[in-house]
């Protein structure tokens, strides 16, 4: 995908070994993050994140649905990611499908917790309106517009920003319902429910190039990686999910090292992201 000469490869690897990367960053610094919220007016919540030349949009839409019979007290949340061919010609046609699925599944694992919904960034039981009958189905759609590496972290951040921008309409239920009847519901267009997004983790991807780990790799750096670990960590420093990519094997002790590095990095990232989201929300209200 990225055509690099032998010299360029050496330059990237040598830079990483000396803690000075091609764009002047240190190994553990992120590119500047730009957050814009409310970019898709039809959605209940949306955000656009730019991380260098990586550009992603996330939108949140709620639809009224029926909870599954196995979990009548929980709403459903689904994450889908699409890679637009604008990001790279190789995503044309069905070319982006593999990456889209990989990203969707990784995000689902990192942000939504297990099948029971335990450990989810958003409490699925807060989406229930009438137990066993009506609930909100939350559809989170990610779209990759431009890709320059580190898509997973960017998408994770975009989803976090979109969820904190989300207002789901309040639903009033007509009181008398009995038996199997679907209760009548009334969607209010004035009152909105906001989510508590403080529990949503951020995703930190550590990419191993040579003997060192870097965060926020560009696509040139990603082409030189041996393996990468994406770790989602919440504000309390708990690990919420983990995905390893890339072929090369890792020593178990190195994985533990990487996790502790990721934990350290995530603190700064969460602070930075929260302040950017707050600034974007303030901007949106002004305009």
């Amino acid at each position: 995908m990225v055509g690099l000469s032998v010299g360029e490869k050496h330059f990237i690897q040598g830079g990483i070994a000396q803690d000075l990367r091609s764009d002047g960053r240190k190994r553990l610094t992120y590119r500047p993050i730009y957050v814009e919220t409310g970019v898709i007016p039809q959605a209940h919540g949306s955000a656009r994140i730019r991380l260098g030349a990586t550009d992603v949009i996330a939108s949140v839409k709620g639809e009224l649905g029926k909870p599954s019979a196995l979990q009548p007290d929980k709403g459903k949340i689904a994450i889908y990611v699409d890679c637009s061919p604008t990001a790279a010609p190789m995503f044309e046609g069905r070319g982006g499908e593999e990456l889209s699925t990989e990203l969707s599944v990784a995000l689902q694992r990192c942000l939504l917790g297990g099948k029971s919904g335990a450990g989810s960034g958003i409490d699925p039981s807060s989406l229930v309106i009438v137990e066993g009958k009506v609930c909100w189905d939350l559809y989170i759609d990610g779209l990759v517009i431009s890709s320059d590496g580190n898509l997973l972290d960017a998408l994770g951040a975009a989803i976090k920003a979109a969820l904190s921008n989300t207002g789901i309409p309040k639903v009033n239920v007509a009181s008398e319902t009995s038996g199997d009847e679907q209760p009548e519901v009334n969607i209010s267009d004035e009152e909105f429910l906001r989510f508590d997004t403080s529990g949503i983790p951020v995703i930190v991807t550590l990419t191993k190039v040579g003997r060192h780990n870097i965060v926020d790799a560009t696509s040139e750096e990603e082409s030189q990686m041996s393996s990468a670990i994406s770790i989602s960590i919440n504000r309390k420093g708990r690990i919420c999910g983990l995905t390893k990519r890339g072929g090369a094997g890792l020593d178990p002790s190195i994985i533990l090292d990487m996790i502790s590095v990721a934990k350290h990095v995530s603190e700064q990232l969460i602070d930075k992201l929260d302040s950017e989201i707050a600034a974007a929300e303030a901007d949106e209200e002004e305009s």
């Binding site: 699409d82 637009s84 759609d141 517009i145 431009s146 320059d148």
Partner: protein, 241 residues
């Protein structure tokens, strides 16, 4: 349903001959060779151009001109109710084809033999007139990529509802079932490169409606020229000329 009120105002408060607000921005996709965002009211599309470059699939190579390809895709969240559409359904294939043919007509393909130009358009918000918005965005992106063209292509749609010709239909007007004429022109050469209409319309009224759409195209062309000029000035400034 009443689409034009007795006072002569449309559902979104426009006059029949009024266009929605248009806005364009060049260079939004950093890694593409050329890119642009084009907005017509609530319709918003991104176009990215890659090329001219080596032909990826050798069997498609044309020895005396460039191969132009186009793909149109809609984001899941672009429409009012969320729907997951499979890629390459008939509607998007048709629109891809329309955009490709329209852009091919203005690109000087004979200057770039044995090469390939890819145009990708992505709809972020759909509120009627996506075809036109895509063509306008693609023109800007091609210009940004520095691809030689005969002229810029601009497009606009017009319709006929409540016995009034209406310029630049939005989604509600578009789904009213009346005729919808989409026109694409080369404004400097004064030639029509794209013309589509559904439903039926008497010949004399069609002439009016098409004239209106052509006027719309010219207005878009003026705006696109302004944007391109502004962009070129910025580039000049950055070079320190």
């Amino acid at each position: 349903m009443e689409y034009v009120s007795p006072e002569g105002l449309r559902l979104d408060g426009r006059r029949p001959m009024e266009m929605r607000q248009i806005r364009a921005e060049i260079g939004t996709v950093a890694r593409a060779d050329g890119s642009a965002v084009f907005e017509m009211g609530n319709t918003k599309v991104i176009a990215a151009v890659y090329g001219p470059r080596e032909v990826q699939n050798r069997s498609q190579q044309i020895s005396d001109q460039a191969l132009v390809r186009c793909e149109y895709s809609m984001a899941n969240f672009s429409t009012g109710d969320r729907r997951r559409k499979p890629k390459g359904d008939r509607r998007s294939t048709e629109i891809s084809l329309v955009i490709r043919q329209t852009m091919e007509a203005c690109i000087l393909t004979h200057l770039m033999p044995r090469s390939q130009i890819d145009i990708f358009v992505q709809v972020l918000q759909a509120d009627g007139g996506t075809r036109s918005a895509c063509i306008n965005a693609a023109t800007l992106a091609l210009a940004d990529a520095g691809i030689p063209m005969r002229d810029i292509v601009t497009s606009c749609s017009a319709g006929y509802l409540n016995s009034t010709p209406l310029l630049d239909l939005n989604y509600i007007e578009d789904s009213a079932g009346g005729p919808d004429v989409t026109v694409g022109i080369l404004p400097k050469l004064d030639k029509v490169t794209l013309l589509q209409m559904d439903a039926k319309l008497p010949l004399d009224i069609f002439e009016n409606v098409m004239g209106l759409a052509t006027e719309g195209c010219k207005a878009v062309a003026n705006y696109i020229r302004e944007v391109l000029l502004e962009n070129t000035k910025q580039l000049e400034y950055r070079r320190g000329l």
